[in-house]
Symmetry: C3
Amino acid sequence: MGQVAWKGLFLSLFDYKTEKYVIAKNKKVGILYRVVQLSILAYLVGWVFVVKKGYQDTDTSLQSSVITKMKGVAFTNTSELGERLWDVADYVIPPQVGVVLRAQRATEQGEEVAALCDLFCDVCAAGVKTGRCLKDRDSFRRTCEILAWCPVEKRSKPKKPLLASAENFTVYIKNSIRFPKFKFSKVNVLATDNESYLKSCRYSTEHPYCPIFLLGNIVRWAGSDFQEMALEGGVIGIQIEWNCDLDKAPSECNPHYSFSRLDNKFSEKSISSGYNFRFAKYYRDAEGVDYRTLIKAYGIRFDVMVNGKAGKFNIIPTIINIGSGLALMGAGAFFCDLVLLYLIKKSNFYRGKKYEEVK
Amino acid sequence: MGQVAWKGLFLSLFDYKTEKYVIAKNKKVGILYRVVQLSILAYLVGWVFVVKKGYQDTDTSLQSSVITKMKGVAFTNTSELGERLWDVADYVIPPQVGVVLRAQRATEQGEEVAALCDLFCDVCAAGVKTGRCLKDRDSFRRTCEILAWCPVEKRSKPKKPLLASAENFTVYIKNSIRFPKFKFSKVNVLATDNESYLKSCRYSTEHPYCPIFLLGNIVRWAGSDFQEMALEGGVIGIQIEWNCDLDKAPSECNPHYSFSRLDNKFSEKSISSGYNFRFAKYYRDAEGVDYRTLIKAYGIRFDVMVNGKAGKFNIIPTIINIGSGLALMGAGAFFCDLVLLYLIKKSNFYRGKKYEEVK
Amino acid sequence: MGQVAWKGLFLSLFDYKTEKYVIAKNKKVGILYRVVQLSILAYLVGWVFVVKKGYQDTDTSLQSSVITKMKGVAFTNTSELGERLWDVADYVIPPQVGVVLRAQRATEQGEEVAALCDLFCDVCAAGVKTGRCLKDRDSFRRTCEILAWCPVEKRSKPKKPLLASAENFTVYIKNSIRFPKFKFSKVNVLATDNESYLKSCRYSTEHPYCPIFLLGNIVRWAGSDFQEMALEGGVIGIQIEWNCDLDKAPSECNPHYSFSRLDNKFSEKSISSGYNFRFAKYYRDAEGVDYRTLIKAYGIRFDVMVNGKAGKFNIIPTIINIGSGLALMGAGAFFCDLVLLYLIKKSNFYRGKKYEEVK
């Protein structure tokens, strides 16, 4: 490359070079091209920008903190437990996890007493086999001796819900969220000085910023029957969704609640239906011997799951979407060129005009 | 389309076709175009690539595991509880959640004794109404009999913090993270053999890889006063942010801590201010009658929230950003064309040259 | 701009304008251009669309709910605790967090009795110094009086694992996930009516939808030795990964498990190795004096971490990727132009043909 080339290159830097176009006075292809252009424009403006907000940068990884608290008192009278009164300290185990104790069977148990149990029955699983074989005095069946807390827990399912009146208990769910990318925070509690409102309100679609939920409502919204669920317990998923358009006012960024039952996805009788767990209270008698009360608790557990998406105008996705739209226009022109040069009558003529042959 | 057309199409496959340009020796439009080009280039290189790292693929969904442990002992002497010593087993309830018990009122209660209570007062909420009406012997007010754990808990707010000395307690927070997309893991604990460092250090900006925090510091960094917070409890959000550029050395990927108070977002007196919960210890006396100690605990709860973003070079976003920049150049040329063809004096002349009319 | 210009602008709306090309019959540059085009096409189709599924919109922020339950019974005989039987209610503390108690040392303690302790030793940290100085009667060392729960806990490490037989305990882990963007849900439990399968199965690669894990297997898969871990406890991370291509059948969206140890990242002796916590059981004797049993529990904690990625066809990323590919083609043409116009012999000739000079 000689000096002349370099000089030409430099001089031509500030000449404006514009592509030469051939005007094909073919209205069919012309209209086709306009239709293609308008379609792409409509897609770009209508779908990408208006519907999908392609001019926004999005953040889906939100920080969330959930505080729950339950309220309510119930009175029960059962043969197993006698008359009992239940308040928050009794039915929420452990205090912070948001669990409601619904039904319970208690068994007073001493430590490590040998128990008799059928060799082939499943119940033996709750103890450790000593290896000794025993004969049942009454029948002629042979059984294995096991070590277990005695008496062994009865494997009966609860007949009626213990805390049927828990339908009117309330759950307070406070959820603070933050979108770290946009440094935007919000809480699902009304910013009010009216203390009595936040004590007496109940959540409904009319009161979206009241964080107090009736237990019965939650279960109903999750599509379950409270009395049926009260029998065997269950897990309720409370999904809080924050879809926020941060180009609008912060007051337009609202939580949406949805409730679903998580434990009985498939069949009523499957292992995954219902919710229960065992725990024990430990006592010591006057002689210093430990014993415990084993409790099988049927409860309603709440899983509060928070997710969200925030969008805010950002130049980079805007340009990417405009750019890809423009590139698409180029593809549209390429398609119309194909029509012009190969599919219409006078295509030979246009081909000669578009492509200027040089020797 | 005849055979000739197909033949021409095939033969021309290896001809190089290049767009024909018209050189408009108009320095104004030429300079305008260069300015547009340079602006787009500056935006692309400076903003998209250098500042926003548009050449990187990002991952914001990190896996995180947090282990916490508290240490500290305090001694209290109150009229309600007498002299008491508090160590970890006493003030962390339940053991794993990272909760500090701060103040507590205990009420010894027997089971289900009928209690008298004003019909219209709120306190009755803690019991179940039996439906019987009673007359108060001393006054002439009528009251309803309720079933409740007796005596009913006193509704007084704590006067002074119980564990004021908890300011010197320490919290150990270990956080392991993993970005699954890039298979990158890191821990917020210094990788050292020096065991005594990890036992004696305290977190500060000089010691970012020491995972032991002074309780008093956490509260101060969250913008609260410890003694004020000790009275009614509270919830502290500990945000750990990992912003990692994985094109650099792993040692440049560091956690950043920020502390905020989550319970009193709006007003001091609102329902959402402070943090307390009730739990009970159950005892059985010599006659086998159950009774309980109801404890209202005012505590500090920690919510450790981890989020992060990792970026690493990836060809696809790089090409997308370059491509959208190039498409933008096309838009710039289109804009300069408009100027050349319709806005300058000799535009008619240039229009004729750019668009070659064919019959 | 006159009326004529406007009229021309309008009339020409439906003329099809197509770029004029110059055919350079230079096979070298022609082939170079085809190679560039094919490379870009191969990258776009092969890498972006087939391998990276660039036609899909992805969602990495999934909602997840985890329910765990443990099963198993063990019998121990130690000098500290005597003969004891352990079932779920005894070794899972608190009931919901999925913690296995592995080894434990119990200390019966009365409240706030003065204890003697060496001034310089670390053990004093468990009490509050009264400020009084005492002389040890037997030796001549001086010590400080401290207030503490007495007797002070012995600082010995456990010699042998208490629940060595826990290797055969089972953990039931149910994980429901939901990708909110695509409204797609799935559970890691086989959708079967066969109740006995879900009771007797054990997870393995052959049974990916059996949610019951053997404790020993989990520890082995995490790369640890169970008996060694049983001594000092540990934290096991259970990662469940859902990588779902929602353009395929839902049955192709399967969970992948991986297990890792989270507590001993760096060295065996560091502060972060092992897992233990202290808790207390409270008793009251006949005279109404409280005392407690302090338990230091060495346990295995499970951290179930769920992450996932779902992809589904979406027009916007498809167009963005095609668009950026097309823009790249333009860049390829620009590069070939440079070769044609400045790097080959006849470049001067082609330059004159490509750029039509106007006065």
